[in-house]
Assembly symmetry: C2
Homo-oligomer: 190 residues x 2
């Protein structure tokens, strides 16, 4: 039995390795799945994570355990995905500056013919950012591959005054919830 991560995210891989998952098989989705029109953040990340998991499951033996996740940032009822270019990254950071936003991660586990789809929400409070800081941060390149244009586990930690919820959810994988789902499905991490 292999544990398969249906994601190219190095952060998700690192988190699973940190809790002792060895010989992780990585099967990223062939293309970035679009956010479904009109979907709430909760619905969107559930649907996208389920799509990624099913795509990977088709390529695996039935005994494998498939884990997939999708993360978006939401503010003022709008969903922020990954920024398209440096200007868009700076715009997102200006929007998050000095305010609270929400991070949603949908997580799907497929094992033994069963599918489990759940969603975790975390509120994140940014301190007010200066234009010089935004420019310096965008120039580091860190924002470019991340929903909402920041990495809470990188330099972005300097912007996050506090959160309410699971920190690892902000990194892209709600570890406590995932551990519980896996345990329910007979895969013990500890």
């Amino acid at each position: 039995m292999a544990i398969v991560l249906a994601s190219a995210s190095p952060r998700r891989r690192e988190l699973l390795e940190k809790v002792g998952v060895e010989n992780l098989v990585i099967i990223p989705a062939k293309s970035e799945l679009p956010v479904p029109q009109g979907a709430s953040p909760d619905e969107a990340v559930r649907l996208i994570s389920l799509g990624k998991a099913r795509e990977a499951a088709e390529q695996c033996p039935p005994g494998d355990v498939i884990i997939a996740a999708d993360t978006v940032v939401s503010i003022d009822g709008r969903i922020l995905g990954k920024p398209q270019g440096e200007g868009a990254a700076a715009d997102m950071l200006r929007e998050l500056s000095g305010r609270v936003h929400e991070v949603y991660t949908g997580v799907t586990v497929i094992s033994g013919g069963e599918e489990r789809v759940e969603c975790e929400r975390t509120a994140v409070r940014f301190r007010p950012l200066g234009e010089d800081e935004i420019a310096a941060y965008v120039a580091t390149g860190e924002p470019m591959d991340k929903a909402g244009a920041y990495g809470a586990q990188g330099l972005g930690c300097l912007f996050v005054e506090g959160i309410e919820g699971d920190f690892f959810n902000v990194m892209g994988l709600p570890m406590c919830r995932l551990g519980r789902i896996l345990s329910d499905m007979g895969v013990k991490l500890l």
Copy 2:
């Protein structure tokens, strides 16, 4: 000018390196400073971090920037430090199971003859733990060098349902607050 970390904690070192601090000088305190009798968690971590910082500052040129921190876990009005042995670690984990506790980190920065001492508090909610999980976790050795007998950034992430406050404070260094103190004192990280 050197940046000096007055702590042997590999987690604090890793966090400072993550925000681009290079050539960090490590000067750990010569002995583990005791929690002052009758002090509140807030007072205790401030005093201990100040003590560590002053001890390191005596060994450094006046132009250096000294960073020190001390972290404790508090529950039911009692302070939990690092566990003395595996039995004590299991007892602490049983006490934290299914409840909310608080993590306090005191942080001191000494630079240019000025001392800044602050404290950050984060609330942490554990899910209920089984005896088998506690035993398996203690057997990994992870709890042994950590206040409250868990590492939120290691396997302990599976126990933490959610937090309220700065996650990095739970790891031992409140990064957003520290960045602000350093910036006030003329040391820009970004």
